[in-house]
């Protein structure tokens, strides 16, 4: 039986085949997976904010997109993954309430997406799939055996998608 481990808000977890990592109900939060196809090991993060700003409480680094990605990559490389083999996928960053658009600018969801793209580009990691933005929630199931991520939503007309 496949062991399914839950990743909570502001957490990240590393696992390997045949395990599955799951995170529920991403709205504006961003889910990022990093996968090493060689060792079939990877990580999933459920992040809230782009990156720490001066004066912000940074005791929990995994709540930021930037630091969570770097921590996952570090840990995977430490366990023997080659940096240039890693593949990333990015999910979530929705804007659930139309009227809560960030004042005169980007919504928090969009800022999270931008930050993930920048951080991954900086590390030289390719984004192989994205299912981001929109105005609906997403649940992710990350199968370490294949590297595939199943995205579930309760929005009508949207089926379960695999990335």
């Amino acid at each position: 039986m496949t062991i399914r481990e839950r990743v909570g808000i502001s957490e990240y977890r590393i696992a390997s085949s045949p395990q599955e990592l799951v995170t529920y109900g991403l709205g504006s939060c961003l889910g990022v997976t990093i996968y090493d196809p060689e060792s079939k090991r990877g990580g999933l993060a459920h992040t809230l904010l782009p990156k720490p700003r001066p004066g912000m409480d940074t005791s929990r680094k995994s709540k930021f997109v930037e630091t969570a990605i770097r921590l996952m990559v570090e840990e995977l490389v430490e366990r023997g993954a080659a940096l240039d083999c890693l593949e990333a996928k990015v999910f979530g960053g929705a804007n659930m309430f139309e009227s809560l658009q960030g004042e005169g600018g980007k919504s928090i969801g969009e800022r999270n997406i931008d930050c993930a793209r920048e951080t991954l580009a900086d590390l030289g990691i390719v984004i192989t799939a994205e299912d981001v933005a929109g105005n609906f929630g997403r649940t992710l199931v990350f199968a370490l055996a294949t590297g595939k991520v199943t995205v579930k939503s309760v929005r009508e007309g949207r089926k379960e998608l695999e990335f």
Binding site: I9, D57, F97, L100
Partner: protein
Amino acid sequence: MTYNKLTEVHLDALREVSNVGMGHAATALSQMVGETIYLHVPQVTLTDIMNVPDLLGGPEQVVVGVTLQVRGDARGNILLVFPRESAEQLVCHLLGRCPHDDLFDEMGISTVKEVGNILASSYLGAMSSLLDLSLIPSIPALANDMAGAVIDFLLIELSEEGDQALMIETEFHGNSPDEKLIRGHFFLLPDPASLEVIIDAVGGLNDNT
């Protein structure tokens, strides 16, 4: 003031103030739907943001959430969460007709938002006069989705300050005999920076009595 400095006395005071506010809100809702609305004892919970979706019945439960920001002397957010069937029931009840397929057409959305508006206004109105603070609700916004997704923007806001959430929560329900209960949860999530204002105002209240 950070959440960590809150004492049991403070939490009690918040519970009491919220009770008064919620009493007014329930009366307003009763009048609107024409049936008695019952309240549970309010709960004040200080918890890690990670636990909040589970406290709402689980991150994947489909809910209708109405949210309003609190502005004025103290800041924070109000969140009203209805299980999907309850929101449907509420809309049918208030509109006198049930939308066939798509419950959340323009009218349905408007109706649930208005309920949120009335509840929040009566809650904050009662709290304002009790504490002698000016507390103003913003325009309501609505989302109909998984609970985790509906509330995560609130957690994002809170996580800028720390990793904890203070939730003042009241569960309410109607009493219609035909199983189709209207039920929901009302949450007030004060900003950490505004807690001191509220606690001070409560303190002033105690001095006078």
